[in-house]
Amino acid sequence: MSVSKKQGLGKYRVIVIAVALFLVFDLGVLILNFFTSYQIGQDAISINLAGRQRMLSQRMTKSLLIIANDASAGRDIGAGKTELKKTVGLFDSTLKAFHTGGSVMGGNDKMVELNAITSPKGLQILSEASTIWQGYTLATQPIITQAEFTPEQLTTAITYARANNIKLLGLMNGLTNDLEKIASAKAERLRLVQTIGIGLALLNFGFILFKFIRSLRRSDELVEQAQQETDEILATVKEGLFLLDENLKIGNQYSASLRTILLQEIKPGADFIAILGSMSSSETLVSARDYIELLFGNHVKENLIISLNPLSEVEVQLTDSRGKSDTRYLSFQFNRVLVADKISHLLVTVQDVTERVHLVTALADVKGQSKVELSYLQKILAIDHEQMHNFLALMETSLTNINAALQQASEHGGADYHSIINKILRETHTIKGEAATLGLESCTSNTHSFEQEMIRIRNLPHIQGNDMVGLTVRLDDFFERLHLVRTIMSSVTGANVSTLTPVAHASNLVDDMQLLCLSIASDQQKQAKLTADLAALPKLPECLTKELRNITIQLLRNAVSHGIETPDERILLGKSPTGSIHLSCKEIQKDQFEWVIRDDGHGLDPERIKSALLRNNYYDQEALTSMDTRSIVMKIFEPGFSTLTTAHANAGHGIGLDLILDKINAIGGRLHVKTRVNHSTEFIIHFALGRSPVAQSS
């Protein structure tokens, strides 16, 4: 406050000084005027009396002549004598007063003050007049004072008077003129001073006017500029801005965005609560009113309740001019506006945060969905029960393995999230493969998206425990689906599905693989046909068949995705547009089996594998050039390898082949790969009965 006062004075200082100067000039001129006027008044008296002396000198001579006349005619000379006495006395006292200053009888028989003459010329005249006057008084003395005077005395007086009368008149005339000249000089000076004073005052006034108008104009300009800036800000600012008064009415100025955000015309003085009421729930309204009222009260501390603003992210229903209703999320922020330490208004900032909210909820929806589609259930019910039991048992085992892998992270000192993810990926790949053979598209796509999520995490520079949370929630979804499907199935079949032991169904293997082959091919706009010769299959124990089935699923997936070309490519290469895949199982010696899956696609091209290895930074150029072709081809069995640049449900994740190798090892088998570029690829698995760990354990 004190600061603004100082600034206020500073702003008006020049004007205040100018006005003060104006007053000083005017007052100075006025005082001078008074003073000089007084002096001119004094001068007027002097001039008057000097003029009277002139007249008196003539009257004295005239009185002497009248006396002489009356005396010679024998008349009474009393009147003449009295006149002469009075005249001489008056002249004498006036002359003395001119000399020394003092009171003199004025024209109207009143005493007036006369100033002594000071000018040199006046003084000279006075001294000359005094000399003459001395003779004059001496000559007239007997006439005035003595009752009887001699005619000689009268003659002497008249003679003297006659001789000096004109001189005295001239002197007194000179005195009058001198006084008049002095007075006129003074008047001249006064006029000059007045002119200068008034001139200065006028100049000052002009200055004030100029200065004042200029600063007025400037402040007007500033106000205008500020107003313009405010207008511009209000017109362009993205947020809705307005002031709210204690009666919860909107102020006169608000930003243009407010209309677009609130999707309605806002009038100054509009009721905020009514506007809010038109778009939000009544509970929100109550909380909002409470909060705003708390802010207007002096009781609460603004910065201690900001976190409680019920409108910081409020859901509203907005209806546009065409009557279309839309759910939006708005954020209202309130700030107290203090004027003289009192809360005068709240500054309200409104933002549309719908996109932000949608982003958050969309994320939550994607992660939290737990719906079992109807078509999925129909599919389940259409599948052979035994097959379904097997699938569910496999799924349960896999899910439990996944959970165990997730739990591992908490047990070891430094969790190797990377290897945990790889472990989970292998499990999900098994589920996905099985789901696809059963035509459970929904399950396949769910598993696929689960896999993609894991791939995303696997590619993170630093995997953290926090990244596992989403996987846990998805795992819970899978468990729930499993539970739900079992519940449904048991209600349909009346059997407790989970207790049934899984049974591998060799007879269905060819059908399933043919189905899978068609489905993968059609997914990729390819054509492929699977033929099979599984004459030796019945000799294998069921547990082994089950493992072979899993291996075949992955190899088949690989063959269609990576081996078989598109029909166009095949025609260009002079092949039939439909690729063929052949599956065979032979007993080559006693208890020695050969399992082959062969496709007539473009073969494993070492150059393509090399460039994929380079692209994924698995090996550098130097390491690759030192490898032989066979080593390079075998790199396709390393975890994470894929030649596809984008992943789809069937391949490209770089999982699968490493899983196959795991499984082949598990049954004690050995894998061979035969390939010819643009001709074929053969995966050959050799295994023996009685040597397989899986077979032994079961």
Binding site: V360, L363, A364, D365, K367, G368, Q369, S370, N403, L406, Q407, Q408, A409, S410, A415, Q464, G465, N466, M468, V469, G470, L471, T472, V473, L475, D476, D477, F479, E480, H483
Partner: protein
């Protein structure tokens, strides 16, 4: 019945991370997340704080931590007393704070109970609400603690 989603799990994880950060300037990280079951009950340490839920939700939120972790936490709080009662108090207060913070997401109709604190040995956790309660393993400094989210929305 509505399932709890990942965002909601993160509400609790964020709350616990924030809690340790506020008290000690050191965040607590998630070490692992998995599902508990009858066969694999949630891991419990020396102390257990429980908040029971009612209203629109049912179930419980558990926070369990070893004595050493609570001891470090009390030191970080500059709490001079370290009696058994203080350990119980701390574990209950953490459970209470986590559940309270979670109301920001779940709303005021998730009623939360006053915390119950117990010390080992425990009888098994009461019958779980979910088939598979979520287990979030937390690591703060070098110590582990568990947060168990066993809750469902009922309307």
């Amino acid at each position: 019945m509505h399932k709890i989603n990942e965002t909601e799990i993160h509400v609790f994880i964020d709350a616990i991370g924030h809690y340790f950060n506020q008290i000690s300037n050191e965040i607590a990280i998630v070490k692992a997340a998995y599902l508990a079951s009858d066969a694999e009950p949630p891991p419990l340490y020396d102390y257990l704080g429980t908040i029971n839920l009612s209203g629109d939700y049912q179930g419980s939120i558990y926070f369990s931590a070893p004595r050493i972790l609570i001891r470090h936490l009390l030191i970080a709080m500059q709490e001079p007393n370290r009696t058994e009662q203080d350990f119980l108090d701390a574990v209950g207060e953490i459970a209470n704070t986590l559940a309270g913070n979670a109301r920001k997401h779940f709303g005021e109709f998730m009623n939360i109970s006053v915390p119950t604190s117990t010390a080992a040995p425990f009888t098994e956790l009461q019958n779980s609400t979910r088939i598979h309660p979520f287990v979030i393993m937390i690591k703060w400094r070098q110590y582990h603690a568990s947060l168990v989210i066993d809750m469902e929305r009922i309307h």
